[in-house]
């Protein structure tokens, strides 16, 4: 197992390198250069050239790449072109945790809905609830999350008034536990919206996995020994059926962070997603590129964790 984990981490390094290369290529293909917006267009062409030279924009691409990557490693993504030249890292810091919280809420909803319903569906296939769950699965995968979000706001925020429609806190003066509750209250609708597609996917997976395991020989053996249904379910079935779910969660890690892009926009939630959309609309390239790097890193780390976890929980897995 350790061998596998080490090999998997070694693969992670070139992938991280590919990620930085593609982000660098994207950054270099951005039209204009930092001066086209920062400097007065009437400035003499020669001054312009001198500044370019001083900043190393005339160096060869590999040299520029090395310089860029070494500042990125130190957390320096440059300055925003739009937000009064604020540091990009500062902008991201302000919103980073909001997106993480939202992702966790979404994951929480996904798991508490998908796993029990998936198990129930598998234990009672073709029951009314199973049909209902299958229908829900189809709908959940077909509905665009922004449309679902709009409906959620329309029904639960505007008409029923149960949840706020936007933002993270309604009263900036509260703190402690009350603030926590208020934040949760604000995250319920976006969390459900973000978790919807995942819920539908997990439910399908859970159902087919449990059905698979229930039909396997060792479950029959366990039943033949006289084990109760309950024990068969908890001691044999779930342990094996949850393995693919755990792997999926690793992938979901990255999906949630980037999936937040549109959901956050619908709920006007101040996370990385809204920052990303605002920056693409404003052509604020330093922010866009930094976020690309972060989203990409999330996906890679998520995949890495999924693979490692997979090899830990399932000793049958050996890659050679």
């Amino acid at each position: 197992m350790y061998k596998y984990v080490i090999r998997r981490i070694l693969i992670f390094i070139p992938m991280l390198f590919f990620l930085t290369v593609i982000v660098f290529i994207l950054a270099k293909s951005a039209p204009g250069d930092p001066f086209s917006t920062m400097l007065d267009p009437n400035v003499d062409q020669q001054v312009f050239e001198e500044r370019r030279e001083a900043l190393g924009l005339n160096d060869s691409l590999p040299v520029q790449y090395v310089r860029w990557i070494s500042s990125v490693i130190q957390g320096d993504f440059g300055q925003s072109l739009v937000y009064n030249g604020r540091e990009v890292s500062e902008l991201i810091n302000d919103r980073f945790m909001n997106t993480i919280y939202l992702g966790l809420v979404a994951l929480f909803f996904t798991l508490i809905v998908a796993i029990p319903i998936g198990i129930y569906s598998a234990k009672n296939p073709y029951s009314p609830l199973d049909y209902f769950a299958t229908g829900f699965g189809f709908l959940g995968l077909a509905i665009p999350n922004f449309f679902f979000g709009l409906i959620a706001i329309y029904v639960f925020a505007i008409h029923l008034g149960w949840f706020p429609a936007q933002g993270t806190v309604s009263n900036p003066n509260i703190s402690g536990f009350q603030e926590f509750l208020d934040r949760i209250h604000h995250m319920i609708l976006p969390g459900i919206t973000l978790g919807l597609a995942g819920t539908a996917t997990y439910m399908r997976y859970m159902r087919s996995e449990v059905l698979d395991v229930l039909g396997s020989d060792y479950v029959r053996t366990a039943k033949a020994k006289g084990m109760t249904d309950r024990n068969v379910l908890y001691k044999h079935t779930l342990r094996n059926a949850l393995i693919p779910i755990i792997t999926l969660m690793g992938f979901e890690f990255g999906v949630l962070v980037s999936g937040a892009v549109i959901t956050e926009q619908v709920f006007n939630y101040p996370g990385l997603g809204t920052l990303f959309i605002d920056s693409t609309i404003n052509r604020d390239y330093p922010v866009v590129m930094a976020l690309c790097l972060i989203f990409g890193a999330f996906i890679l780390v998520g995949n890495l964790l999924a693979d490692i976890f997979y090899s830990v929980v399932d000793p049958r897995i050996r890659y050679d």
């Binding site: 990620l19 665009p144 087919s208 609309i281 866009v288």
Partner: protein, 309 residues
């Protein structure tokens, strides 16, 4: 799919099934798949629904007299009336007309993005899977590179690099970011197919690489290709509507279901004018659902083993 025959039908009812053209030839896998597909009620329903939507988008000029782009500032945000079945939007444009004409754009973008992605994916995946070795390695590293970024993030970034988005440009950008998944699927099936004896046989009689790929390998991998292409079209429609919703897709005034929904980001329209945003959202949902049913039906039809549900 059924082959037409000019011979009169056999009088003996027992032999009716063996129509003269099929006496020598048993049913092709395609015909078998087609039969299984027709038995799947949801899939057939999906085909009918999609057919109706396509017909309505073609017949848009017959179903409405209003222009989808003509603004009328005296008739802004009107509720549904006899003249405007679904009322008017914030620029006084007829919503029903925009819905009909918008379906053209949404379906065109969805279909052509799927087709373009499919072509790119098939070509790249075939080369990687057929030749293997070093070429495969290089192509797969490029694939990893494109897949290192989430699809939506990469697409949005590229869109932010271009000055103005149009339909062909959007389709190209989507295809350039979406091909890796298709390429991987095709590469995977080619890697196992190319070791089989019929490929060796074809090579032995001197068939060119091109012929082997197109005449022997692709037809054998057609099941997963068709299924994934179908499901991909649904994804493409969602992607286009999502991009247009946040204002980074097809720009106004050209209507698409996605940019019609973006009006609802205004909480006043969301609250007071349900007829402005529920219909386009519902259209996306129904179209995607129909395509997904067709895709699932095709999967079960091509692969009887997948019948696990």
């Amino acid at each position: 799919m059924e082959t037409a025959t000019s011979q009169p039908p056999n009088k003996n009812p027992e032999f009716n099934e063996f129509n003269s053209s099929k006496v020598k030839k048993s049913k092709s896998p395609f015909q078998l798949a087609f039969r299984r597909f027709l038995k799947n009620k949801l899939a057939v329903m999906g085909v009918i629904t999609l057919f109706i939507i396509v017909i309505m988008s073609f017949a848009a000029p017959l179903l409405t007299d209003h222009s989808p782009t003509k603004t009328n500032l005296l008739m802004v945000e009107r509720p549904p009336s006899e003249e405007h079945i679904l009322g008017t939007d914030s620029s006084g444009r007829d919503i029903w007309s925009r819905l009909l004409y918008g379906s053209r754009v949404s379906l065109t973008v969805g279909f052509s993005a799927m087709l373009f992605t499919l072509i790119l994916g098939v070509i790249i995946g075939s080369i990687a899977g057929y030749y293997g070795g070093k070429i495969d390695n290089i192509i797969m590293r490029i694939t990893d590179m494109v897949l290192a970024l989430p699809f939506l993030v990469l697409t949005l970034t590229i869109i932010s690099l271009v000055p103005k988005v149009s339909v062909p440009l959007l389709v190209t950008i989507i295809a350039l970011t979406a091909w890796p998944n298709m390429a991987r699927i095709i590469r995977g099936s080619f890697l196992s197919l190319r070791e089989q004896e019929f490929v060796l046989g074809a090579r032995a009689i001197g068939a060119s690489d091109f012929r082997i790929i197109f005449k022997h390998l692709i037809p054998n991998a057609i099941g997963p290709i068709v299924v994934n292409a179908t499901l991909m079209m649904a994804t493409m429609i969602i992607i286009e509507s999502g991009l247009s919703f946040i204002g980074m897709g097809i720009p106004q005034p050209q209507p698409t279901w996605g940019n019609m929904l973006s009006d609802a980001q205004n909480i006043r329209i969301l609250r007071d004018h349900w007829y402005a945003w529920i219909p386009p959202g519902f259209c996306i949902l129904v179209t995607v659902l129909a395509i997904n049913f067709i895709g699932d039906g095709l999967r079960d039809a091509f692969d009887p083993k997948s019948d696990r549900r």
